[in-house]
């Protein structure tokens, strides 16, 4: 991976030479100028330090408006541009592009919003004009600290690593290869296919699972762009988006292509062991193939059960059998990684509904093997050699667990979630039983029937028509299973049927099928390697369930299929294709461009305290152990600025939102000397996160909700960037009140930036109280993008509250204390008065 610097030619500082700022104030065809006196504002702005041009325009965003800005930049050699117009969400990009066309770095541009935040919300024209000028003055002050920035460009290695060779991994790999992208599949088992290979018929199409799987595997195996490693376990990983390096350990297969007669090798093996593929319903040898037509079509040795007796070696004349191979390691370079390791089925504990206790109690997955004509019973419904006359299905085994009823899992947590696929699978299986074995009675014990998906309900309908008996149990009193005391059937299920008003019933069944839920695999390795996070359900957690359902928090890592939660086959393939689409987009661009507003650590100031590592929602910060300091990976940083507010040494800065810039802005908002007396206007600084609260303020504007002109908005990307120091600065510079508004908890554009705000602000409130600042002067609230009404109400309330309290006027307080404005006295060398004299 290569990355261009954030700053063109490392130019971090100001543009060489004097500041030449251009201020362009939009009339917006009266939308602004009907309320704001644009002429006054333009005239006042012209007198601000550094301003070379100050002018108004009817429509800045129009072609002539943009042309006028470009012309002024060229003719007046402007090196900073400010446009005061509508919301930046509408036209910031428009003006940035215009500035760039005129040959100026587009980040030397500052957009301020005097329409949605001023003219549309302030009724009093004089107040509106003053507020507009304050905002422009603040922008001018901020502009002095702007630096030319360039977008980050990250090069992407044109290949993808797919972890997992089940339906999701295979689908993703096939799709990517179809887009001409090189793919490596890493599967930990010796054979591809995952759980799908074990299924018999799948809903909602009723197809044989292998009708889907086999052609897919053939396609993947034949594709020259796809490399497959089976028996391959993840060993270690380094790198970030664009350039991941994953080391994989290849466990020897024991059998090579040279083997002249693999079947003879299998037949010669004396070591019989449990056949995992048939879920323990049959046996196989220690050298084995799970089923005919598996891929690779070459047996593998199960090292846990192999005694290395050499029988297979001899059966093959010593060719193609390698009993003493050592593991090999390969490093796989990739620009992106798709994680598709799938899930496990819940294994009932011994005695749970008679499982393990009675051979007639099996799981739904085992039932699927029994129904398979190629399965352990060749498709006959036999248990213990006995023909089955009645079957019971019991739902929610290992799912929807409840405290006090179910025993927690090994990690102490209950599986509270619904496993999503079991209801429909049960209906589908019951349907097959009724169709293939019409004499067999079927009972269904359920809490709810959740046949949610397309065509799922029709299975439910069918089995109802086919005479399956439904019994609804109370989850707080789950059914009990025991051997049938009368000996009529193998078992009896005792339960209360809520459908018949709580009648206690006993249902004799020859076979009880537990509709076992789905559980996450052990994710420890993935967490170690890729810093993935898991939810309370132990499945991997996507970065945002709505917006980015197939992405992990760290860029370049994608999720495909049921590694993320229970899914059926169609859902898994859809998720796999969606993940492939993300990876394909990443690879096909070759490089990605990202906003330059990243954080950067000043090495000479960082003490390596590691606190920022806790702050970053994206793990973009690591600690360089050699130099004991933090480093921001600009390829991973998304620019929320939460670390900047966190660093207790101010050793981290964010491009575009440095302390210097924000403080200059705040100071300029408060620069005007307030007029005390009857016309006194409270001065309130409002720090707003861009994604929710700023948009909420825009929303108040578009809805023309009027509120007082007293709250001046300072924009940051995330409320996590709002350093408590900014709040005390604002007060000490004369603010009468401060507001901090961010996205609601859970809505943060940066996942958890606002969690930091949630902790800091109450602490700030306590500090302020100790300094004697009334709690009404500081307000911290969550405002969403839709809550324009709330925003306007908050400003109204805040203004009224502060007005009632009167001026805070901290500068005069500091004067009274005797420290002036908190800065040093006159420079050394000037006359110092002194009363003590020599005798």
């Amino acid at each position: 991976m290569g990355m261009d610097g954030v700053n063109g030619d490392g130019a971090q500082g100001a543009v060489a030479g004097d500041l030449r700022i251009g201020v362009f104030v939009c009339h917006c065809g009266g939308n602004i100028s009907d309320i704001v006196n644009v002429e006054t504002v333009v005239r006042q702005a012209a007198e601000l330090p550094g301003v070379a041009v100050s002018t108004g325009h009817m429509f800045c965003c129009s072609d002539p408006g943009q042309a006028a800005i470009e012309q002024q930049i060229r003719e007046q050699r402007l090196n900073r541009v400010i446009v005061a117009a509508c919301s930046p969400s509408l036209h910031e990009l428009t003006f940035r592009r215009a500035v760039a066309r005129a040959g100026l770095n587009p980040y030397l541009f500052e957009h301020i919003n005097i329409r949605e935040h001023v003219s549309w919300v302030v009724e009093d024209k004089e107040q509106a004009t003053r507020k507009a000028f304050r905002l422009i003055r603040a922008a001018v002050a901020r502009a002095a600290h702007l630096a030319p920035l360039t977008k980050r460009r990250i090069q992407i290695h044109p290949s993808v690593l797919v972890i997992g060779g089940g339906i999701a991994g295979l689908t993703a790999a096939r799709d990517l290869a179809a887009r001409g992208i090189r793919v490596t599949i890493v599967e930990s088992n010796p054979f591809l296919g995952g759980r799908l290979a074990q299924l018999y018929r799948i809903y909602p199409t009723g197809q044989r699972a292998r009708e889907i799987l086999d052609p897919l595997i053939r396609q993947v195996a034949a594709d020259p762009l796809i490399t497959v490693y089976t028996n391959a376990q993840l060993e270690s990983s380094t790198g970030v988006i664009g350039d991941f390096r994953t080391t994989v350990r290849l466990t020897p297969r024991g059998v090579t292509e040279d083997c002249p007669d693999p079947q003879a090798a299998i037949d010669s093996c004396p070591e019989e062991c449990v056949d995992q593929f048939n879920l323990g319903l049959s046996k196989r040898m220690a050298i084995y193939k799970p089923y005919d037509g598996c891929y690779p079509d070459l047996p593998a040795i199960d090292w846990r059960n192999c005694t290395k007796c050499g029988a297979c070696f001899q059966a093959c004349g010593g060719r193609g059998i390698q009993l003493d191979d050592q593991p090999q390691f390969v490093e796989i370079q990739s620009g992106a990684i798709i994680i598709a390791v799938g899930l496990n089925t819940y294994g009932p504990r011994h005695g749970e509904y008679g499982y393990g206790q009675y051979p007639e109690v099996i799981t739904l997955a085992q039932m699927n093997r029994l129904l398979d004509p190629e399965g352990p019973t060749k498709g006959r419904l036999l248990v213990n050699g006995r023909t089955v006359r009645s079957v019971g299905f019991l739902h929610c085994v290992g799912s929807l667990q409840r405290e006090g009823i179910h025993r927690p899992m090994a990690d102490g947590k209950l599986n509270m979630y619904c496993s999503r696929v079991c209801c429909t699978t049960t209906m589908h299986t019951a349907e097959q039983v009724r169709e293939r074995f019409p004499g067999v009675h079927v009972y269904d014990f359920h809490e709810d029937i959740r046949t949610y998906g397309r065509r799922h309900e029709s299975y439910y309908d069918h089995v109802c028509e086919q005479g399956v008996a439904f019994i609804r149990f109370d989850p707080m009193r789950p059914p009990a299973v025991e051997a049938d005391p009368k000996g009529e059937a193998a078992l009896v299920v005792r339960t209360v049927d809520r459908l018949t008003a709580g009648e206690e019933i006993e249902v004799p069944v020859d076979l009880l099928v537990l509709a076992t839920g789905l559980v996450a695999r052990d994710m420890t390795r993935l967490i170690d390697l890729y810093r993935c996070s898991v939810g309370a359900d132990r499945f991997l957690m996507e970065v945002h369930p709505k917006l980015r359902p197939v992405e992990l928090a760290a860029s370049g890592l994608f999720l495909a299929g049921s590694v993320q939660g229970p899914m059926d086959i169609g859902e898994s393939t859809a998720a796999a294709a969606a993940a492939a689409a993300k990876a394909s987009a990443l690879i096909s661009t070759g490089t990605i461009e990202m906003d330059p507003f990243v954080a950067e650590v000043r090495e000479d100031r960082c003490s390596g305290c590691r606190i920022c590592l806790n702050a970053c929602p994206f793990s973009a910060i690591t600690r360089n152990e050699e130099f004991a300091r933090a480093e921001v990976n600009p390829a991973v940083c998304l620019g929320c600025g939460t670390c900047v507010a966190t660093c207790p040494c101010n050793a981290i800065q964010q491009y575009g939102f440095s302390d210097e810039q924000i403080k200059a802005e705040v100071a300029a908002l408060l620069a005007e000397k307030p007029e005390y007396g009857p016309g006194w206007q409270p001065r309130i600084v409002a720090f707003l996160c861009y994604w929710c609260s700023y948009t909420g303020a825009d929303n108040a504007g578009t809805a023309r909700l009027k509120y007082p002109a007293n709250a001046d908005i300072v924009k940051v990307m995330c409320s996590g960037r709002i350093d408590p120091e900014l709040i005390t600065s604002a007060f000490s510079w004369g603010a009468d009140g401060v507001m901090v508004l961010g996205c609601h908890i859970g809505d943060c554009h940066y996942t958890s930036g606002n969690h930091k705000t949630m902790v800091r602000m109450p602490l700030v409130r306590r500090l302020l109280a100790q300094f004697g600042i009334e709690p009404e002067r500081f307000r911290h609230e969550w405002v969403s993008a839709a809550e324009g009404e709330k925003f306007s109400r908050l400003v109204k309330e805040m203004t009224e509250q502060v007005r009632a309290l009167g001026p805070l006027n901290w500068p005069s307080h500091l004067d009274a204390v005797g420290v002036g404005h908190g800065h040093d006295l006159e420079p050394w060398g000037e006359e110092q008065t002194c009363q003590i004299t020599a005798d």
């Binding site: 065809g29 199409t205 018949t500 554009h749």
Partner: protein, 435 residues
């Protein structure tokens, strides 16, 4: 309106969350996409929702950034207020005929200032608020609309020219006519979204005549901070409801009206709306009458339990009939299943019918895709290729292929984009193009 080219790699029909995502995922892979939306703004159903389950994030907070991304994407061309007239395969892909409806506003000149709206003297029921709110006869679709451009509804116009007089950019154009647009597209993604089962088929629930029997999307608007009332109130008289009933499967799992399937989202939105109501109006009782609670998705069961914990009454029952009292209260005749089928009559201030989900658009010959017996697009290989329609080169995403929640719609949109990209790659390779 952006410059419309002659040819696009992909055409995406429908700019709800699925269509937007499909367009982004296709454009992200380097293809030029034309995104067509029949409403005056993109965003679909999602942008009008209050919160989304189970995380309770603000819907517009997560939808509007995506809308902005679509609008600013250099490979996506947006065509709003436009409908598909015809789509057919040709040797070179698809020949597409679109009809752009007249906005009577010049899109590129309108600055979204709403001066026309404020000047207009007529108010009209607002479709975005399901008729509960109003807009002027010329109006900006809503606060978060993209594009922020006015549209004039000629049905109610009084022709006094107030809008044109107020417009600072002289962009009201009374001469506009429906405009036919012909483009070529290499592949097509249909993301045409949903409608709800019309109320009139449920005669036993009033057939749409009872003013306080409301549709769940309208309830969503009532709960939204930018909704028509700003509060949850009942439409008959503005009363803050003290008891609200949700009748589940009102038009789902009902063969008699041709909707035998489960609409998949109703359980969750009923629980979600219940939680939101209880948060704002802790004294208001919420009762959900249901057949099964289908909380099947990630975090859904936990959400269900939370809702019950917050005092929402979840009652397994069949609602046989709703009748309206003179004061517009509603009386529900209910068969309580867990009480052995006891029949009770229960009064509520407001009833939300969890109306079933049906396809938002039918091709009716406009596009060569087959419809399945459930009314949604036929998917020949539902397990292996869930985004492929019956017609080569036409892909489908979102609720157009069956009811689904937002994450599933987004995932499927990604899948449709991937399928379309693969198809485009193949056809470009056949045509000898560089790929």
């Amino acid at each position: 309106m952006a410059e419309i080219k002659q040819e696009y790699d992909g055409l995406v029909l429908g700019a709800g969350i699925a269509g937007m995502q499909a367009a982004l995922d296709l454009a992200g892979q380097g293809f030029d996409v034309l995104l067509v939306e029949r409403a005056p703004s993109i965003g679909g159903v999602m942008v009008g929702l209050n919160k989304v389950f189970p995380t309770l994030d603000c819907s517009s907070c997560i939808c509007t950034p995506r809308m902005a991304e679509v609008a600013h994407h250099e490979r996506i061309t947006l065509l709003t207020y436009t409908e598909l007239k015809h789509l057919e395969r040709t040797a070179r892909g698809f020949s597409v005929t679109l009809v752009k409806k007249p906005r009577y506003v010049v899109e590129e000149d309108c600055i979204g200032c709403a001066k026309c709206e404020l000047a207009c003297n007529v108010v009209v029921p607002h479709e975005f608020d399901y008729g509960l709110g109003a807009h002027a006869a010329v109006y900006i679709p809503h606060g978060n609309a993209i594009p922020q451009v006015a549209v004039l509804d000629p049905q109610y116009c009084m022709f006094d020219g107030a809008c044109a007089r107020a417009c600072p950019t002289d962009c009201i154009d009374f001469t506009q006519q429906p405009e036919e647009i012909n483009v070529q597209a290499g592949a097509v993604i249909l993301a045409t979204g949903l409608k709800l089962v019309p109320l009139d088929v449920k005669k036993e629930y009033g057939g749409g005549k009872y003013v306080n029997v409301m549709n769940p999307l309208a309830m969503e608007r009532l709960q939204s901070p930018n909704g028509p009332y700003g509060h949850v109130m009942r439409p008959s008289d503005g009363k803050i409801p003290r008891s609200i009933a949700y009748v589940q499967c009102a038009g789902s799992r009902d063969k008699s009206i041709g909707v035998p399937y489960c609409s998949r989202i109703c359980c969750m939105y009923a629980l979600k709306q219940g939680i939101m109501i209880r948060q704002h109006l802790p004294e208001t009782e919420v009762t959900i009458y249901h057949m099964d609670i289908r909380a099947f998705g990630k975090g859904y069961e936990q959400f269900y339990r939370r809702a019950v914990g917050e005092g929402i009454r979840v009652v397994k029952a069949k609602v046989a009939r709703i009748t309206e009292e003179p004061n517009k209260d509603l009386k529900l005749r209910v068969e309580l299943i867990d009480e052995g089928g006891r029949v009770a009559e229960i009064r509520h201030d407001l009833v939300v019918l969890s109306q079933g989900v049906i396809p938002g658009w039918k091709p009716d010959g406009a596009a060569p895709v087959r419809i399945d017996e459930d009314g949604f697009f036929l998917i020949p290989e539902m397990a292996a290729r869930p985004a492929n329609s019956s017609h080569e080169g036409v892909f489908v995403a979102g609720v157009a292929t069956g009811p689904k929640d937002i994450p599933d719609a987004i995932v499927e949109a990604g899948a449709a984009a991937m399928e379309a990209a693969m198809y485009l790659g193949r056809s470009q390779a056949r045509a000898g193009g560089v790929q």
